[in-house]
Symmetry: C2
Subunit: 484 residues, 2 copies
């Protein structure tokens, strides 16, 4: 094991080479360094990644003022204090502060501080344990990895190849989080997380949003009532929510002026900007996968320690979006912690704990992935939906509670509307999944995540007393509904 | 077992007689009825109790508009939308709605709906298994209990016997939650939960509040940093927080005009109203305890099934504040559920599960009592503080995290200030206590309650992934601090 404290190695040989310096790659570097390994990390854009500069962080910076004002407006006594709409200019200032005006000095400095080497450039695998980098200063560098190469390149917005797209200059998610003017009319295509969050944000900032959803429901991976409730709130906020409709062509003649969307229902829709929030594709098309026998552009299949299964001698790891387990920053960081520790343990010849829920097994990826959409209302879930649990062969019972019956929820917002579901494994007596949708439930989700990941038996949950009058008393109602 | 569905019994003999119809007594009635027992419940004031009409429910109805506005003001973009102060008149309207204008028709109707008999009057024990009631219509009724009598009379504000108190007409908690005019100057005596919550509420509603605290810190049963942070926020909101000072006399000549407080630091303080929030005393002084060999005015010592230990043949139960375990509505309801089930199981001759965390043991009272103060900032804790854990003989390690270092907290409020502590039992590897203080942490507490009551091992908590960017990522920082 090389105990070098990082920095530039004359021979460009490191224990670990990480491709991609987002939240996932930096966490892999952190754990590998904590395990005493030398690390080089290759990043072609900003250290901190899409999440920090183009996705989670700026989107929440835009959403929070909108939700804070919406929350105040839902409370008699506070409503009267809110006389004006959300200040878009101030909100953009806030967002710019959160992304450090798109400068990565702090995160790059942190990386240096842990003793990892930052190589700015485009890294590509160049045969086993080799990473060739086209550096940003037009140089070329080949890094060698004694122990492991970790691919943490993440994903990019996947945009359909429709007629007129190039000229229409559509927004993708990173545009929607970095724009500093409010389009009068904004069309958003896609009813997943990005679509609903950006609908809340931009409608709240003053745009007239039309949300176009191909399927019949929003947030289709969550329990069906979630998308229904989010659609209801969005409509009440002024968003024109249209389901069962696809865009078949776009046009913006000359690339200026309004954009026209041609819909498959025979209508056209004119807008000032259009955001395509139609899914993600892995950023693996140009990272040299072909040099190690893998398919460029594919998701990477990994084992419980984050090793790419197809590489027989186990030097290649893939954490974060690229492994397609869960396209969520926090889940990628979880994989990074565990995978990084696994790399360090293997390098030191220490035994690994790969049993379920062990220190070197990403078990939560299979059973306890949590997710919060910070739209209004907040939409949250962990584990399996009732349908997913049944499809996976579990014998389950799902119970629902109307959050409007919970005193703490009514205290939080007048006329509170929200819903909760708990999915119980009848054979094992613990929870497989929990869903909450409603204002102010974002922080409540972690109680469910602890219960699901901890496999806390239902009979023990009766002893986890929720405070009165908080929204968390929904737990009591869920337990009563399950007993009843 | 009498399977009567309740209602009036000609002979006034019931399986269970409950004295006190607050949230605790009604839950005892509910569980006893669910177990097939006949129930009479005696209440001299409003069914639903102090909590519903004079404490938790109206206080949170007053607090929420204040906190919602404070939350919005802490967010750039939302701040600009808030042009006016909280509307006190609208807030009082809101509060009145939450307490149904102090009418109990709904709760009384619910009680009837579950088949329990409501006897309106003052109930007193009258020897074993007997309860004599002076009814509100000046009648007298003697109820007999085949199985159990449950004392659920709760507590009242305890006010010091200072010179001038009678004439000064001080507020107690129920006055502070039911007032409908804002005093220009409000003095609040006592730095516990009522004192800090009412400081937040009334300062936010427009009063100039002076908070007088005898000891050196606020919320003295929580980790020391909690009271410090609450004092800091209260001061910034305009509250004059004074610690280490006692009131030795009060005067309001003729009972009108301003009230003057004489302090032990040699100063006097003039105010328009004064609230004494100086603790609680059990409502057991006039319930006939002497007729069964117990001391009137004492707290009642109970076993793990809520039976009063001093009563040898086990027919007397005491749930809620009167047993002095935890003066919290939710904990009283917990005791009510478990005690009520124990009564039903014993009546049916079914075996009881009184092992720790069993269905008939109030184990959480000893290990996992949660508490949220809905002041600004929210102050929350579950289980033991570091000091309490050490005093109880546990070998522990406590780790702290500055919530201002958590991205999700910064997204929630600009310049977020808050703090968290986790107390780990080093021998058992699970958590004994967790504390969070800061804006927006009220719903986060239940994650800690599930972890503490579930005794989820620390190594498993690493698999309970907190969502990014939510405040719950503090869990990650706590785990890292513990590992580090």
């Amino acid at each position: 094991m090389n105990m070098a404290t990082g920095g530039r190695q004359a021979d460009n040989i490191y224990d670990v080479v990480v491709i991609g310096g987002g939240p996932v790659g930096t966490n892999v570097a952190d754990r590998a360094r904590a395990g005493g390994l030398s690390v080089a990390l290759v990043e072609k854009e900003l250290v901190g990644g899409e999440c920090q500069y183009r996705a989670c962080v700026p989107s929440k910076a835009l959403l929070r003022p909108v939700v804070a004002v919406a929350d105040a407006r839902r409370v008699e006594g506070a409503l009267e204090a809110v006389g004006r709409p959300v200040d878009a200019a101030a909100t953009f200032e806030r967002r710019n502060r959160f992304v450090s005006n798109w400068h990565d000095d702090e995160t790059a400095g942190w990386l240096k501080g842990i003793g990892a080497r930052l190589v700015r450039g485009h890294g590509r695998l160049d045969g086993p344990r080799q990473v060739a980098v086209d550096t940003l200063d037009d140089g070329r560098l080949v890094l060698s990895a004694r122990q492991a190469v970790a691919v943490c390149t993440g994903s990019r917005a996947a945009v359909p190849d429709l007629p007129g797209m190039a000229e229409a200059r559509p927004w993708i998610s990173r545009d929607a989080t970095s724009a500093s003017t409010v389009p009068e009319r904004l069309a958003i295509v896609g009813g997943g997380g990005v679509g609903v969050e950006m609908s809340t944000a931009w409608q709240g900032l003053g745009a007239s949003v039309t949300l176009l959803v191909r399927g019949q429901r929003l947030l289709p991976r969550m329990e069906p009532f979630v998308g229904e409730m989010v659609a209801q709130y969005l409509s009440e906020a002024g968003v024109d929510v249209r389901t069962g409709v696809s865009v078949i062509a776009v046009s913006r003649p000359g690339g200026t002026g309004p954009v026209t969307l041609v819909l498959d229902d025979g209508h056209e829709l004119e807008a000032d900007e259009v955001l395509f929030a139609t899914g993600r594709a892995p950023l693996t098309d140009d990272i040299g996968l072909e040099t190690v026998g893998l398919t460029p552009g594919a998701w990477l299949d990994i084992d419980e320690t984050c090793r790419v299964r197809a590489i027989s001698d186990g030097w290649l790891y893939a954490m974060g979006d690229v492994n397609h387990h869960a396209l969520l920053t926090h889940q990628g960081k979880y994989q990074a912690r565990i995978g990084g520790d696994a790399i360090a343990a293997r390098a030191a010849g220490r035994p690994l704990d790969t049993a379920p829920w062990g220190a070197h097994a990403i078990t939560a990826d299979s059973y306890a992935v949590p997710q919060v959409f910070f739209c209004d209302p907040e939409a949250t879930a962990v584990g399996l939906s009732a349908e997913q649990a049944e499809r996976a062969g579990h014998r389950v019972r799902a119970v629902d509670v109307d959050l409007g019956q919970v005193e703490g929820a009514l205290e939080y917002a007048d006329g509170y509307r929200g819903r909760a579901r708990m999915v119980v494994d009848l054979d094992r007596g613990y929870l497989l999944g929990v869903t909450f949708v409603g204002p102010g439930v974002a922080e409540l989700l972690h109680s469910a995540t602890v219960a699901v990941a901890g496999q806390v038996p239902v009979h023990r949950l009766w002893h986890a007393v929720p405070c009165f009058p908080s929204i968390s008393e929904v737990w009591l109602r869920l337990l009563e509904a399950y007993r009843g």
